[in-house]
């Protein structure tokens, strides 16, 4: 923040989204938004780093020289290998009755210049690749070859909007590892991999721009993005 390195610790909870404080100034930060909500730095916001939610298998093939956070021996017992269903069982404290989704529905949330949009995970997984447009930006949401990893791209090649579809087989086949996972674009007819880069065809070597996206529960996404729209098709 302004050239100063801050170190964060867990300081509380706000409707099941964590509050963090930094050791340097004691400011309170909201986990999901990265915004300083109280304290000396109130009003500032942390810069969001592009990150991925991938399976270890997918990531390993993409970044063979990457490093993995080691488990802390003292706390290995505390790690919950079943974290996903276990977290889903926890009670919710806020709900938005009358909205399109249920509190614990998983969504992919993204914002483009302040316009928020949520993609119900199930719809997305069934339809992937999903083509959409938010605030004028053409988007491509893709479920990875493993059926669990996902990424969001700007579906534009050299400034021109493009459409993508999965080559040959269905998403389900690709997810089951039956076929190589390849996207084809209708503008240049090039082949694209899950990293968003063209592996062959006229666009070979080009990569699509990435859009940060968050896999979240509907109640949490809706709470911090009250104006969000929901993708449906």
């Amino acid at each position: 923040m302004n050239g100063r390195v801050l170190h964060f610790y867990l300081a509380g909870i706000n409707n099941q989204n964590f509050l963090m404080r930094d050791r340097e100034t004691g400011t309170w930060w909201q986990q999901i938004t990265g915004k300083a909500i109280y304290g000396p730095l109130q009003g500032s916001a942390l810069e969001l780093v592009l990150s991925d939610e991938l399976t270890f298998g997918e990531w390993r093939t993409e970044f063979p020289s990457g490093q993995v956070l080691a488990p802390v021996a003292k706390y290995v017992k505390e790690y919950d290998p079943n974290w996903e269903p276990d977290v889903a069982k926890l009670p919710v404290v806020i709900s938005f009755p009358g909205t399109e989704l249920k509190s614990r529905d998983v969504v992919i949330g993204l914002t483009i210049d302040g316009a928020a949009r949520a993609y119900p995970w199930e719809t997305f997984a069934k339809q992937s690749p999903v083509l959409d447009r938010v605030n004028g930006t053409p988007l491509l949401l893709a479920l990875g070859p493993d059926g669990k990893s996902f990424r969001v791209f700007v579906s534009r090649i050299d400034g021109r909007d493009a459409e993508f579809f999965l080559q040959g087989d269905t998403t389900a086949d690709a997810a089951a590892g039956k076929k190589d996972w390849t996207l084809l674009d209708t503008t240049t007819a090039s082949q694209w991999n899950f990293q968003g880069c063209a592996t062959s065809g006229p666009a070979q070597g080009k990569c699509l721009d990435r859009i940060p996206a968050l896999k979240d529960y509907w109640f949490d996404w809706r709470n911090y993005h009250p104006d969000t729209t929901v993708y449906k098709h």
């Binding site: 390195v5 801050l6 170190h7 964060f8 610790y9 867990l10 300081a11 509380g12 909870i13 706000n14 409707n15 099941q16 964590f18 509050l19 963090m20 004691g26 309170w28 986990q31 909500i37 109280y38 304290g39 942390l46 780093v49 592009l50 990150s51 991925d52 939610e53 991938l54 399976t55 270890f56 298998g57 990531w59 390993r60 993409e62 970044f63 063979p64 020289s65 990457g66 490093q67 993995v68 956070l69 080691a70 488990p71 802390v72 003292k74 706390y75 505390e78 790690y79 919950d80 290998p81 974290w83 996903e84 977290v87 926890l90 009670p91 404290v93 806020i94 493993d146 669990k148």
Partner: protein
């Protein structure tokens, strides 16, 4: 402290009684202040409960001031307790001691991060080459990349620790789940 070593209790006068009533009032006000500084934010910011925007602001404001506030209040309480001690009977003394224990507890816990008692932070994170990792290929990870430096943070671990301050390719980042 044995009562025999103390000078005899002065005879009660209306003025004495009035000043002792004042001391009691001040003592309870300062102990309520100390306890409230710890307890109100702890009560508002508790898991699995709804936090409304305004109470949350109150909680953060109190918690911000609690370390110094509880310390000052505790010291004032102790001074007042000393002033009261000789004028009160055994029940009064028991009440004062009990209150002081609660005040001291508040002052101590206001300096602790009890959220980290539940979710221990990672001190000095270690990293493995992926060939040394025992992670299942189906396990989900959070991944970042800066230039050629790629790092993966297994979600099963991050869902326990919740926050990791890391530096990747000289960029300080906070990884949080």
């Amino acid at each position: 402290m044995s009562t025999s070593s103390l000078p005899p209790v002065p005879p009660e006068s209306p003025a004495n009684r009035r000043s002792s009533r004042w001391l009691w009032t001040l003592f309870f006000l300062c102990s309520i202040a100390a306890i409230a500084l710890f307890f109100i934010p702890a009560f508002i910011i508790r898991p699995f409960r709804h936090q409304a925007p305004h109470p949350l602001l109150v909680a953060m404001a109190l918690r911000q001031r609690a370390p110094l506030g509880t310390l000052i209040a505790s010291l004032v309480c102790v001074v007042l307790a000393f002033a009261l001690w000789r004028t009160i009977n055994r029940w009064g003394k028991a009440l004062v001691v009990l209150t002081l224990v609660l005040v001291a507890f508040s002052a101590v816990v206001a300096r602790q991060n009890y959220f980290e008692w539940m979710f221990h932070p990672i001190a000095g994170a270690q990293f493995l080459a992926q060939s040394d990792s025992k992670l299942d290929p189906k396990e989900m990870i959070l991944a970042v990349r800066f230039g050629s430096d790629a790092r993966a943070y297994p979600i099963s671990q991050m869902a326990y620790h919740h926050i990791l301050n890391d530096v990747v390719a000289d960029v300080p980042i906070a990884v949080t789940y």
